[in-house]
Amino acid sequence: MITCVYFAWVREGIGCESETIAPPADCTSLADIIHWLKGQSPGHHRVLADPSALRFAINLDHATLESPIREGDELAIFPPITGG
């Protein structure tokens, strides 16, 4: 199981703040997970359509599409940061 947390327009588009997912075992990278997540609902598909417009974190550290992801990880998906 992987916990997904969403922020800003990603949260609004998917329609929830977080969810627990159980992707197939061959989803080993962040890119694999995003591809699989796209198929979960029209909202997921719309928001995740262009991963280059998104930013990711695994277990609270910034991550890229090549980053490996494991059982028990917390995956955060969000737009580029606009703090300060």
Partner: protein, 176 residues
């Protein structure tokens, strides 16, 4: 490591209180080894405010969303990085979240150093990093419409300019 005070909060902060809190923390830092003086020659504070206009349209309010555990961790890392790079005696970073109104104070950065240039450069560095590394997202309420603010290329470039290992106190200042 010199002291860093990092807080995420919805309520307002008091700048004078935070200036004295950091001075006290610097004075009682274990590195001072019992000395009475803090060794600080420069104490600088930067306050970011909510602007009242978005490209000419009056702003009703600003909503700041964050990712509590990650935001705190990233800001602590930014504070420690600034302390190391600029040999600071200490620094404070307080960032607000939730709903804010025009003119509200949104972020406070205080840097304490032996000399002025390091304090200025470190505050500039911290602000540039906060804008691209600390997970915050701003949503503007303009009355007729609400929209999530897009990341600015100028903010990304400003943050990238610090990626050279050499510390450059005289680099051009980025737009706040």
């Amino acid at each position: 490591m010199a002291p860093s005070i990092v807080r995420l909060q919805s309520e307002a902060f008091n700048i004078a209180d935070e200036l004295s809190a950091l001075r006290t923390a610097c004075r009682s830092s274990p590195e001072k080894d019992g000395e009475k003086s803090s060794g600080i020659g420069a104490l600088l504070s930067f306050t970011g405010l909510v602007r009242d206009l978005d490209h000419g349209t009056p702003l009703k309010s600003l909503y700041l969303e964050h990712y509590p555990a990650m935001t705190e961790r990233q800001i602590k890392a930014i504070a420690n990085d600034a302390i190391t790079r600029f040999s600071l005696a200490g620094c404070t970073i307080i960032h607000r979240h939730g709903r804010l109104l025009p003119d509200d104070e949104i972020v406070l950065v205080i840097t304490a150093a032996r000399h002025r240039k390091a304090a200025f450069a470190a505050a500039d560095f911290i602000m540039d990093w906060l804008k691209t590394k600390a997970p915050f997202w701003k949503k503007e309420d303009l009355g007729q419409e609400q929209h999530w603010v897009a990341q600015k290329d100028s903010d990304l470039e400003a943050a990238r300019s610090w990626e050279t290992p050499v510390h450059q106190p005289n680099k051009p200042r980025s737009e706040q």
